[in-house]
Point group: C2
Chain length 482, copies 2
């Protein structure tokens, strides 16, 4: 392995780490966080925390005690046992994009997300070798019923992929539906097995709202994994300074972990980082800038300090097109993600337009970037045949390696040939129309989709999933807020 | 500094380094290199090396003895003493592109290089804050006399920039012209001062041709710096395997250094790496692939082993357009260049189309990438004001950072706002024409050029430079080959 967490860039000295920790603990103790969930506040009060209205003042001793109960690694069971993985155990989980209300490709342009588009992205995730984890919510089918479409997205994820996955779960009831569907897929009984990860975002600064806490309770109660991710935009939801953002991140992340551990000690939790600057010209997040890169490296460093698996990074970009800006932002982000030794990566492929659009061409571009990074990660081979001394001796000075048997024997295996990036000479390329990367990426995602193999599903389980969805769709919509 | 040479990715274990060294020494001793320069061969023979026809068998003891004479760092004097720099002393020298026969921008398209284009790139180099070194030959004015245009490119570099620089010098006589012009600029006498760097490429595999050796002799004699750079394309001029390429690189680089040190012990030499794969579909170099990245990291590691300043990396790409491929390839290359702790970087900005074209839009893109990397390199600030505790306390949970005085006071200073990358919402952007990065880069290089300030030049020195060029242009063309 060329890039190891031990050699990751470390933007914080030991003293800086201690400072961030101290400020984070002072935020928890002196400022406190609003926890907009009565049952959770009650539990925290019973556990000795000072509660005043919605405000909870988390004692640092309590926070660190709860943190100590969270596991350093955990097993994430996939429906195909071959894809079961130890999260935090050295394997990075790379996922496709999640959350965009729009879907886009060069054939049909930008449009509202559809369930068909969701299926496509799940299938591309299953087919793309650099990706090893699925994410429900790949694009939001916004024309479907908001109260039940999470069921369809969850089904899409479970049916068309057999990878470990992140559930949709944007509220307690939706999280519980996801858990029920995971139970069905795992044969009706999960026991204590962790079969999904769910993401909660604090409403920054310093609020844990009802839906998020309720989802966290659902996951913790059933020993599912919670990715506790403060959603920090410097200058909008956090201080404009990276150091201030980090202190706030630790306060929000560790208070979230403390809530989950109060529900069930030992429930898997991840330290999540979504940390970006705000472009003051537009008020929009600026993704892939130096602040984003600091967020990845610093987040990874802090997660390790606190002994939690790290979720961060991804193929994030602000660009509206699959152009040079998109590629630069995502190259920086994805490489930082890998250099940091990140454990879990949401949005590694397909993210465009600040996350508003799932782009199929961007998906193909990101898969290409990941492919290259994973080959880099493997490092250089140093076998005797690779040193090629005898072949060079035979050729001698001025010899033609291009015609050498050694080259013929090994170039397919030893040299990377990109299916997306080209080296065609300008004149030929130009005469053929001067096609740019995005146009080739359009063909590339279709090729990738052609290689998709349906993992299949047991007919009874499939029927049970569909019956569950039908039943839930016939029931009155659940109350998601307090 | 976030990225330090000590923490650079190291693709070779100590054992791998020893293996590469051993194979390189066996190449020097058992296969030998052709040195197509009679005087050099004579010197090498007098120094005890076995010579057979053109072939020189370099003894490893001799190679390592010569290497030991080369300095670990050296002072590179700029005509503006404020720009004088210690090469190998921790400051990376970033240069614009050199060598392309074509010039391109979106206004006039791709065309033959011109002297005016050369002037523009030198001015952009002088103006762009991430660049701190110039390179003669920014684009080749191919319609001018091949025997004298090097004088014009050298003048362009000396006149419009006051940075340290790399000379043109593709042959002995051209190298000597460059040295003469440096003498004039430095007041007529250089003494032992190093005022320029020159690049020599071996004709791989294992040939040092007359022009390159003759240029190297010129530079070494006058204590100017030689960047000894094997030009390795895996599968074409080197083995298709990275390990084989590295062994060949060490043999070629160290034999070159040995030649220079035989001319003048202590003459500054750099360990140069130009190390890429060959795309077997086109026969062209494939730039920015994992092989290129290995080349940067391994080259830097080997250069440090041998105690020489390292030249490598750059904003290289194969793409024919300023598109996603170009940005991905160059983002990877430039970040690797920085991570490796590279000392000298040719072609950091403006390289397009495998180096055949100097693109002004690509120049603007690369400058943007470098700007971001250099901000990353500075790391995170951890002052008390940056921790922003009091500001957060005042805001409390749910407070608006966007409206906070702390944000207003600091966002200009503490947050990076790209002049090239945008975060505009899709609808506005699309309604305004959906402009992609390359179109914005066209405006960006013009803005950059507008900020150019002529460093000026002493009128007598300028007249002397022009008189030198006039004299040389009136003389018969020198014989460049043996």
């Amino acid at each position: 392995m060329l890039y190891t967490p031990e050699h990751a860039p470390r933007p914080l000295t030991e003293e800086n780490e201690a400072q961030v920790h101290e400020y984070a603990m002072r935020i928890c103790e002196e400022i406190g966080l609003d926890v907009l969930h009565q049952d959770a506040r009650k539990l925290l009060e019973e556990a000795g925390q000072k509660v005043d209205g919605d405000r909870v003042y988390f004692d640092r001793g309590f926070v660190m005690e709860q943190l100590a109960n969270a596991p350093h690694t955990f097993t994430l069971h996939a429906r195909n046992p071959q894809n079961t993985v130890e999260v935090g155990g050295g394997t990075t989980l790379w996922m496709g994009v999640g959350g965009p209300p729009f879907l886009s490709d060069l054939d049909e342009g930008r449009r509202a997300g559809t369930l068909e588009g969701h299926d496509t992205i799940i299938k591309l995730t299953q087919a793309a070798s650099p990706l090893n984890c699925a994410q429900a919510g790949a694009c939001e089918p916004t024309k479907m019923d908001v109260n039940t479409r999470h069921l369809d997205m969850e089904y899409s994820t479970l049916r068309w992929s057999d990878l470990p996955y992140t559930t949709y779960g944007t509220s307690g009831p939706k999280a519980r539906d996801g858990i029920e569907m995971a139970r069905i897929v795992h044969g009706g009984d999960l026991g204590d097995r962790t079969a999904l990860m769910g993401v909660v975002n604090s409403v920054s600064p310093l609020i844990w709202d009802f839906r998020m806490v309720d989802a966290m309770i659902a996951w913790a109660e059933s020993n599912q994994a919670t990715v506790v991710t403060p959603f920090l935009l410097g200058g909008a939801t956090a201080a404009v300074s990276v150091a201030g953002g980090l202190a706030q991140q630790v306060a929000e992340a560790l208070s979230g972990v403390a809530i989950a551990q109060t529900i069930r000690p030992g429930a898997p939790c991840l330290y999540g980082s979504f940390f970006q600057a705000t472009d003051m010209r537009s008020g929009a997040p600026a993704l892939g800038t130096p602040e984003s890169i600091f967020g990845v490296f610093a987040g990874a460093q802090l997660a390790r300090r606190y002994g939690l698996p790290f979720r961060g990074g991804g193929g994030l970009c602000s660009s509206n097109a699959v152009d040079a800006q998109a590629a630069a932002e995502s190259s920086f982000m994805l490489w930082a993600t890998m250099l940091a030794g990140t454990d879990v990566v949401l949005h590694a492929a397909g993210w465009l337009e600040g996350g508003l659009t799932a782009s199929l061409e961007k998906f193909a571009l990101d898969v290409e970037l990941l492919e290259q990074l994973q080959i880099q990660q493997e490092g250089i081979g140093f076998s005797e045949e690779e040193f090629a001394f005898d072949a060079l001796k035979e050729l001698g000075p001025g010899g033609l390696w291009l015609a050498a048997q050694h080259t013929m024997d090994h170039f397919r295996e030893w040299q990377y040939i990109s299916p997306l990036f080209i080296t065609q000479d300008f004149t030929t390329w130009s005469a053929a129309g001067g096609e740019e990367t995005a146009a080739r990426a359009n063909r590339r995602w279709k090729q990738l989709l052609d290689t998709y193999e349906d993992p299949g599903i047991d007919a009874d389980i499939d029927a049970e999933l569909i019956a569950y969805m039908d039943r839930r769709k016939s029931e009155p919509p659940p109350i998601e807020d307090d």
